[in-house]
């Protein structure tokens, strides 16, 4: 764990009545640093915020956004809930899956892309929507989705 994270955790302690509240912020910092959350990282956090490792592990398995295994460099999360479904999510998903030649829940062999379906992203007015890492890509069509993935390919070269 980088000293930056250790410092940040110490700083955050003053903002909450108990260090236990720092479970979520700590897990986020770990995930941004390592790409996923390992058991070693959980043990380290446990020491810093005075919370048993199992309590942190349980939290990590509860929330869908925490990865306990590494994911691809670009995590493509396509919203599957009703509004996006009504506005053409299936076609967008199909196109992306075909482009990357993987199914939902899988990662490309070069480790670049992971494809997931997620529940409502809170972007129903601009459906269909996908989230790639931290950014929303809205008002998708299969063509637009293809363009976006293409540009990621170019970016990563």
């Amino acid at each position: 764990m980088s000293p930056d994270i250790v410092d940040k955790i110490e700083e955050l302690k003053s903002k909450y009545p108990s260090p236990r509240a720092l479970v979520l912020p700590s897990l986020w910092m770990i995930q941004y640093e390592d790409g996923y959350i390992s058991l070693d990282a959980i043990d380290e956090i446990s020491e810093l915020i005075d919370t048993p490792p199992m309590e942190i592990y349980r939290v990590a398995t509860f929330y869908t956004m925490f990865n306990l295994e590494p994911v691809g460099r670009y995590h493509i999360q396509i919203c599957k809930t009703l509004s996006c479904s009504l506005r053409g999510k299936s076609e967008v998903l199909k196109r992306v899956a075909e482009m990357l030649d993987i199914g939902v829940g899988e990662t490309t062999s070069d480790g670049k892309y992971t494809l997931s379906q997620v529940e409502c992203l809170g972007s129903c007015g601009t459906a269909p929507v996908m989230q790639i890492n931290d950014i929303y890509h809205e008002n998708l069509t299969p063509e637009k989705a293809e363009e976006i993935v293409d540009s990621l390919e170019k970016e990563s070269i």
């Binding site: 236990r20 979520l24 309590e55 939290v59 509860f62 509004s83 009504l86 809170g122």
Partner: protein, 409 residues
Amino acid sequence: MRECRIVSKRFDTPNSHTLKVAKELGAYSAIDIAFGMTPVEIIEIIKESGLRGKGGGGAPAGAKWELMPQDQKRPSYLVVNCDESEPGTFKDRQIISKDPHLLIEGIIITCYAIRAKDAYIYVRGEYYQFQKILQDAIDEAYEAGILGSGVDITIHRGAGAYICGEKSALLESLEGKRGHPRLKPKQKEPEWYFGNPTLVNNVETIASVPYIIEHGASGYREFGTPKSPGTLLFAMSGHVERAGVYEAEFGTPMMEYIDHYGGGILGGKKLKAVIPGGASTAILTADEVKLATLDYEHMRSIGSALGTGGMIVMDEDTDMVEALKNLLEFYHHESCGQCTPCREGTGWSDTILDRVLSGRGSSKDIDKLLDLANIMDGKTICVFAPAVAIVIRSFIGKFRSEFEAKVAK
């Protein structure tokens, strides 16, 4: 239908999220007015205004504020609920990304009224790009001295769990635990954060406070209906021409709203159904929609609810069985798993509907779904399972023929 800009006043102005632009357009002007009153006086005004919680429940906000102790035996907290994960709902994100200073202003006034020094804004994990805008605004406010000497605001990021929008589950999550809703107390009392009295309110509820302080309770009541005063950031998604969030006053006829702001049904098709207030409200047929007004009382009287005001519009070609399956999958994924009826019932109703859709089902399965709805209703720790029951009952109740058609051999 008149335009109402209680919370969306600055939404369309470029850079409205910056302190400079927001201040030019009146941000923080209610603070001095508020500080000229006592906390108890402010709570009275909120009560008089009839402000109702905008997170889906619609409970009177003033009554909740009143539960907070005015003595300071323990520190009080304000928690702003921006977990917004109800399908069809995307209004709070507009506030934090387009007018975050309005929210900060509301937080300062609310904290003053409930004598809290610390406020947490719990933002759902997926909203990171909007959270950053909010954080920048908070940083600006600290720099300008608006925050820091009375109130401290900390953003706490969620990580993908719809149930954390339930206020007691949110507090569990904020305490660093799994989002398990708490058993409900038998008497009226505030919420508790690490054992300290806490007020949990939706983003839009808090964002409505500056207007009420500036224009008074009667100013707020100029909009809406006597029982549902004020406005709501209603939203439309699904089969409408112009999906999006448009503030409107309570009492607005639903069809008028859909036509005026939404531009009518996408592609000129016929309306079939609308889920009025986010997924967890009873679905309405086109006939019901045409007679409906957007207020809590009317929705209740026809057996539905206004919820978050996020309308999901469905046209004549929508397969209602597939639509129900989509929602049941959502609930199946999002159940926290703590109590038996919900944990097993959400999984089972999804599986049974699978049978129906795959052609292996029978009429018995449709009845079993209604049975499960009854089992899940009224026996659980929180209202998640009763919401699933409402969804199942209303879909099957109003569109039974489509379900029967799937199982007919």
